[in-house]
Symmetry: C2
Subunit: 789 residues, 2 copies
């Protein structure tokens, strides 16, 4: 899994120089295109061979029953699964009497590249058919970031040395054949034939197929139209049936001549709007795209991306592979969030249906930090989506016997879809994670209207949940028993430090914002007594501490458990596929950063020495079976002075998908880890913190990383941070009177458009030696991989 395969290291694109059919699933995910509304996996144009076919519309799902061997009160009865919708990517080709299929004939060359600046997935192939005809095919595919409902493909084919008759079939296909998937719980449920045909329409050039999901009763429409350029005589036919539509182009080409087809695709869906409305919407999108034209779409795409990179790029000197990886990461985070527009951002984006296409706390915890500082409107939209499901979250809280709102652990449209409550319902920290994202977004943007419209209500209803989940003991300490923190190898534990600290933050923020928005607070029936109860509970929160070991137990009693038999577990990762939860939960073994995440997000609650000791302690126990871990370990390793180790973790976080480190990139990219690549660099080596105060930095680079530069948006202004081994320079862009006050390594400084500020970086010395990890779970060496070009 550690093989880079045929992906050369280049700064602004991901290129694949050979087609490896054994790695199709992975490449389909890596080359996925999306704008947050439409997602197209990087399936080959001709549809076959494929690993997992995928065409997704954000939040377009089917309901399915959730079965239980033994049912329990409050268990969700139905789940939601992202639907593989009508596939519009298909362009099949017949050369004389041979279909273009890379498994037959001879493939001379095959190259694909995803360009992060143009947003184009390009494919170039040269192939000789079993009948001996050699052709060149070039396709370029985009999912428009500016026209939300639109994707487009340019397909060019030419014979190389002999004339040939070409039959090109461009299709829409609903209810594609699905592969058999494994029993791994992280893989999506497979839905057979999820789409019921409603109607199909075709004009002379364009086709629209309309379908409905059986159980969730969502309507969707997919449309296509084509512009065909060919020399001489040709024929174009359009046909449509219930589950497919086909535009057939026939022509004879001589060497030097080419057939060029531009296929415009449009998608729309709704659970409210009528069949006619959806059909018209798609037809309109097609008309708009065609009016804009292929070159127009590319131009818009480029402008959009230039603007993004201008404010979001992270530049690295000293590690070309990491440079490529962080841009790849940012590009996919952008794709996931850009046009989600008040829909959920799933944990795999729209690159695959892993985890059923669900959204978890990953989004608020690992994706929104990136979007907040690079594309804040997308972060606001994601949180407005949370607000849009507040009613469901309040219903869920009531079912559970709680007040306030209990957001679902996993969902597409808002209903709890977790079928295993100890790692679902009990992971109530998701509510504090959402609250923290609200506070962060407001701090970074100053968007008071957002607080008034949605933010305060999110803070208040989550605070109310905490007050009913927690209780005071007879000594007045406030506790949260029986909850599950981020580490999924522990569950239903008492006083999880992360959860307790985050809940306290949530309560304090609710009290503080309610005081600042008194009118809105009154409308939400918050009174001074309730605010006081929030502050009191936050102050009284119990944080377990092991006085003997001088570390914080992740949860009460954790440091007294037996240590996991790491030696005996060599080669048995992820552990959850080899050991029962029963044994995992009762041992000292950590799937993913939990206490370490507490020391990162709630850093003020720990002294520097505590952080160092905690880091040292938990490093030995953390197996990183979750993709949410390496980036957090990178951040804390950097903070406690293990910069080389931080470098390794940053590298791992950034490479999880490019190197398929978790062996499941084929099910979709790990959005949180992609966000985590940015976090590892910006919060790790940049030292960005935004936990409870304002903006602060404390940069330091590991040996070998010469330069790191990044930008963030802060209250409408771009701040650029340029770090090298000796010093850091803070510069403000955008507007002559702009200024940002920030804290650098404990010192308050103000940066203005006129005056950038440079500070020397002090050498960071760790309190303790570099810790070890469980055997076989050491991170890859970033330095050892830094010379690859």
């Amino acid at each position: 899994m550690m093989d880079r395969g045929h992906h050369p290291i280049e700064p602004w694109q991901l290129r694949e120089t050979e087609l490896d059919l054994d790695k199709l699933a992975q490449s389909e995910s890596l080359f996925a295109l999306s704008n947050g509304h439409i997602g197209l996996r990087g399936n080959l144009d001709e549809g076959e061979p494929f690993a997992i076919p995928g065409t997704y519309l954000n939040s377009f799902y089917e309901r399915r029953p959730l079965p239980y061997a033994e049912a329990g009160y409050g268990y969700p009865e139905s789940g939601q699964t992202l639907v593989d919708v009508t596939n519009g990517k298909l362009i099949r080709l017949m050369i004389d009497d041979s279909p273009f299929d890379v498994r037959y004939g001879h493939l001379h060359s095959h190259e694909r590249s995803l360009d992060f600046r143009t947003g184009i997935l390009q494919r170039d192939a040269e192939w000789t058919s079993p009948g001996g005809k050699r052709i060149k095919v070039r396709s370029r595919r985009i999912v428009s970031l500016t026209q939300r409902a639109v994707a487009a493909i340019e397909y060019v084919v030419e014979p190389v040395d002999q004339s040939a008759r070409l039959v090109l079939q461009s299709e829409l296909v609903a209810n594609e054949t699905q592969p058999k998937l494994s029993a791994d719980p992280r893989v999506a449920a497979v839905l057979e034939q999820p789409l019921e045909p409603v109607s199909h329409h075709h004009g002379r050039d364009d086709v629209v197929l309309i379908h409905r999901t059986r159980s969730s009763e969502q309507l969707m429409a997919a449309g296509m139209t084509h512009v065909v350029e060919q020399p001489g005589r040709g024929d174009v036919r359009v046909e449509a049936r219930q589950d497919w539509a086909r535009t057939t182009v026939i022509c004879d080409l001589k060497p030097g001549e080419s057939l060029r087809v531009v296929k415009y695709l449009a998608y729309g869906w709704s659970s409210l709007r009528s069949e006619n409305a959806i059909g018209d919407q798609v037809a309109a999108a097609l008309a708009g795209a065609q009016f804009c034209g292929w070159d127009g779409l590319l131009e818009e795409q480029r402008i959009f991306l230039d603007d993004f990179w201008d404010a979001a790029d992270v530049e690295i000197l000293g590690h070309p592979e990491l440079q490529q990886a962080v841009r790849f990461a940012l590009f996919h985070v952008l794709q996931a969030g850009a046009r989600a527009e008040r829909r959920a951002i799933p944990s795999k984006g729209l690159t695959g249906a892993g985890y059923d296409g669900h959204t978890f706390w990953d989004t608020e915890g690992f994706v929104l930090p990136v979007l907040t500082y690079t594309m804040p409107d997308a972060a606001a939209d994601a949180l407005r989506w949370r607000h849009s499901i507040l009613g469901l979250a309040k219903e869920r809280a009531a079912v559970l016997g709680f007040k306030g709102a209990a957001f679902p652990w996993r969902t597409i449209r808002g209903q709890e879809c977790s079928g295993y409550w100890p790692a679902g319902t009990a992971a109530v920290h998701i509510n504090a994670d959402i609250a923290a994202a609200v506070v962060r977004y407001h701090a970074a943007t100053g968007d008071d209207r957002f607080i008034d419209e949605v933010g305060l209500e999110l803070l208040v209803e989550t605070a109310r949940l905490w007050m009913s989940v927690g209780h005071h003991d007879r000594h007045g300490r406030w506790h949260l028993p029986g909850v599950t923190g981020p580490d999924e190898y522990s569950a239903v534990a008492d006083d999880n430090v992360f959860t307790n600290l985050m809940a306290a933050r949530n309560l304090r923020a609710a009290a503080e914002f309610a005081a600042r928005w008194p009118v809105k607070a009154r409308a939400l029936e918050v009174n001074a007594e309730e605010e006081a109860s929030w502050r009191d509970a936050a102050t009284a929160v119990h944080i377990p501490y092991d006085e003997e070991l001088k570390v914080h137990p992740q949860s009460e009693g954790f440091t007294g458990y037996a240590e996991w038999d790491f030696e005996g577990s060599r080669g048995k990762y992820p552990l959850m596929l080899h050991s029962p939860y029963f044994d995992l939960y009762r041992k000292q073994v950590v799937k993913q950063a939990d206490l370490m995440l507490a020391t990162y997000w709630c850093g003020n609650a720990f002294t520097a020495e505590e952080k160092a000791r905690n880091f040292d302690y938990y490093e030995r126990l953390t197996v990183r079976d979750s993709s949410l871990s390496a980036c957090v370990q990178a951040v804390m390793a950097a903070e406690v002075g293990h910069l080389d180790l931080a470098y390794d973790y940053a590298y791992e976080a950034a490479l999880i998908d490019l190197r398929n480190l978790h062996d499941n990139t084929g099910d979709g990219l790990h959005m949180a880890s992609l966000g985590g690549a940015w976090i590892a660099l910006v919060a790790g080596f940049g030292g960005l913190r935004d936990g409870e105060g304002g903006l602060s930095f404390d940069p330091a680079l590991p040996d070998g990383l010469t330069d790191l530069a990044f930008s963030i948006r802060w209250r409408g202004v771009r701040l650029r941070v340029e770090i090298n081994q000796q010093e850091v320079t803070y510069t403000v862009h955008d507007g002559s009177d702009a200024s940002i006050t920030l804290r650098h390594a404990g010192e308050d400084i103000t940066v203005t458009a006129d005056a950038s500020v440079t500070r020397l970086i002090e050498k960071r010395t760790p309190l303790l030696p570099r810790p070890t990890q469980p055997p076989g779970r050491e991170p890859m060496s970033a330095l050892g991989n830094s010379r690859l070009v």
Copy 2:
């Protein structure tokens, strides 16, 4: 649910004076007949109306998939469900042209009675058909306790005032129609058409149907033959098809004449033997039964039962209903265990398929204590069954990552069938419960051969399990984190006091017995080091204690949790149908005796004051949503001096099924609570303890209970204990040189056949006032119901 219905209180039988069609399910369970091998629910002879049809063979099950919304490592993939096998109880009757069906015509009288001394279920009905013909029907049904494969029915019908033509159809029917059941997890999964026909055979008089389960591939045969007595001309026909067989008897009767049919039934099953062997086995059983004859079967049954009652009867003066109830309880415990013969004793016996017909820890915990002292061979057989599945238990332990044997939480044939691990796999205390039953059985019988053949191995393999489940902390204390104790409203908690104490007992017993059986121990590869490690862990076991409250927390941290909102839960019992486990687990609320069971079974670990305080504390928290609770509360209430409260709990334990207190008696009787009725009286008011020393008593009766007398078997001798308000007399039966040494209220006494011993009973004064229970969960008043006759 509190209604006694039409069941008069009588000392030696359960009688129903009117047929209440709304309570059919309950009466089918109450009137179930069984010998531990065959079970016949008390369905009406004519088959309809029915609530739940039921004919069961011990351990004859079908496999079914266990589904999970989110799968996990080590989750059982298939479950086992007791099969409703070929129904041989059916005798239909046509009077002229009206079928005898109590829902039509006019039912003048209908009475059923189950006689605990004869073992006969008798039914007397007088009915006028819609056509105006009045008949009397009397049927008597037995399941033979002496001929394990045999049941028999005597059916007598006579016209009352007019001649009539009678057509009697006696049937065998496989794959009966099943009722739709509820979503309550305690109800069995319904299997549709579980039996595949293999063959059917009929001679002139007898029929055998052979079927096989589809997935578990178990073969079964059911056979019947008849003896018909009729005046004058008649006709008898025998027919058989794949799924049914029918013997038809036709005759004309005048008033005063009667038709009498004796139907002999035989059942057999095997997963090993061939179709022919099974068919022959059933034919042989039929021949044997017929040879014995109806009167012979009744005679054998009476002798068997006389012998049982002679040694097992519990006599009560002062509470006729309790007297009836305890005999009802003993009768059903006898039926469940008598001829189980190295098969599991299910939690419902063979009276219904509730809980899928599974066996839990209930058997060792609540049924075997009764059998050990009243029918020790049956207890030995049950434990030999455990030994027969030791291989599976060792495999299960290996899957879980443990050493030794991990017995299944619920099963029919030995494989773990629990689909919810926090209340299944994690309830590892079942292993210590089995070990305790081994020690108890040996103490009561002195059966050394049992220890050599199976007992020591059970102790050793369970001890090995504990050593791999537990661990020492850095202070040398031995812990069991993350386990579930008896209380199912808590789970996956650390250092459950009950589990820790029972595990320590298990370890001590293994070490002690290994030392006493060194040859066998060596064969099991036990060495002195291993024995020492068991003793050391047992000595070092950590027992949490709340110094402030001066009570033992049920598990670490329990007494710091918020108390359940009992006021808000009025009318919402059982709580598990109204609240999520998430909330239940994190609050102070107790489904069933847990810490209280620890103080009962491991009484030596607590001072009298601790017991009193613990009892007082947990009474306020215990909601008795489990039928395993009241009897334990009775025992501990008596021990701490709340004799009136003990009386109430004893009454509740004894009446759970007769009054349908848990509203699910229809799914089968609660064997553990029936055993618990005996326990409440013998261990509660008799003060029987056998925990870690020899036999001891400490009797005391509540006001209103004038006399209590019971017998137990102790090393082949019957000890009779007669208690009244002032004194207790111990008498030894069986053999002139018999003697028993026991401890009475702290004093060692020896009782011989020549000299009974009488001691005055000291007045017991509780340390604390009578505690309260959660509102609405107070036990019924025993005294208030003691005058019913």
